[in-house]
Symmetry: C2
Subunit: 190 residues, 2 copies
């Protein structure tokens, strides 16, 4: 009988990151991850379809937050203001424990081509979601695609800073700064 494990998901992610760091991603099995987390394999599979998805879980949540954030911007908002609203909304998913796990997660992804591919596909998927949210605000292409790419680039840079040792600023603050930096860079291109 399945026990109620309120923090199972979090425990599985932490156990997996520890094992990936110790013995590598390829050598780590789902059974080992479950055992390290003090859970069963069936509990693992209630939360994740496989080992690869474990590190990029939550994509649906991020997509929803981006979409709602962009939709919630005032009607008068410019495309970049709508992108900022989307990024601010998505930061809600980035909790303090996610910040703490960030360096281990980055190391695991950097060490494995399969995880890099999955991470890349996640980012491209989120850019497409943001583009679609901007379309629904009546923003045509290529402006919508461009605004979404600028937003994703800024968020990637903000996230990298956020998980850097010694950085104490909030992710939303960093996202605003980086969005401004990337926008400013547009004027240096021609």
């Amino acid at each position: 009988m399945a026990r109620w494990e309120p923090d199972a998901r979090d425990r599985l992610v932490r156990a997996a990151l520890d094992l990936f760091g110790e013995q590598g991603y390829d050598a780590t099995t789902v059974a080992q991850i479950a055992e390290r987390a003090g859970l069963t394999k069936s509990t693992f599979f209630r939360h994740f379809p496989d080992k690869r998805e474990l590190l990029v879980a939550g994509q649906d949540t991020l997509a929803t937050l981006l979409t709602e954030g962009a939709a919630g911007a005032p009607d008068s908002a410019t495309p970049m203001e709508a992108v900022l609203a989307a990024l601010e909304a998505v930061t809600a998913a980035f909790t303090p424990d996610r910040r703490e796990l960030g360096p281990k997660l980055q190391a695991a992804i950097a060490a494995n081509a399969e995880l890099q591919e999955r991470d890349t596909l996640k980012q491209v998927g989120l850019a497409a979601v943001l583009t679609e949210a901007l379309h629904r605000r009546g923003i045509p292409d290529p402006a919508a695609s461009l605004a979404a790419e600028i937003g994703m680039l800024a968020f990637k840079r903000a996230y990298a800073r956020w998980v850097t040792a010694g950085e104490t600023a909030e992710l939303a603050t960093l996202a605003r700064e980086e969005l401004h930096a990337v926008q400013s860079a547009t004027s240096t291109l021609t």
Copy 2:
């Protein structure tokens, strides 16, 4: 003994696209592709590591052309002028027969999630190559990443037009037009 098959690569791609259209990507085997092309399986594997790579072959060539194109722009070139030089260089790989195969290729990719993933990873890989080429010109981030994303977005749009029935313009012409369109869109974002 291996025969000299000067057009083997092209024949394999054409045979594969026909079979994907007729019976789907998943149902098509390497043996069937080779047979349809009038070649052996071992000839297939001399040209492609697997079925998936067949439709995104030539990524290394495109990367080299992008890099050389960006490097070959005058020292005085702006970042966007260097991107344009890179795009113009890469159009050399897009021969008339590639244009003719374009719609079949697009249909095959649209119909299969695995090919979509591979195609996405190819595009992201080429954006990274272009970013790196811009770094070597002394362009810092985020300007280099942004310029590369603008370039890739423009090229994607240009390619889509190029393979559209009735479009007769050269790819280089379309790339210039789309690069201009995407750049112009930057001024509509704020």
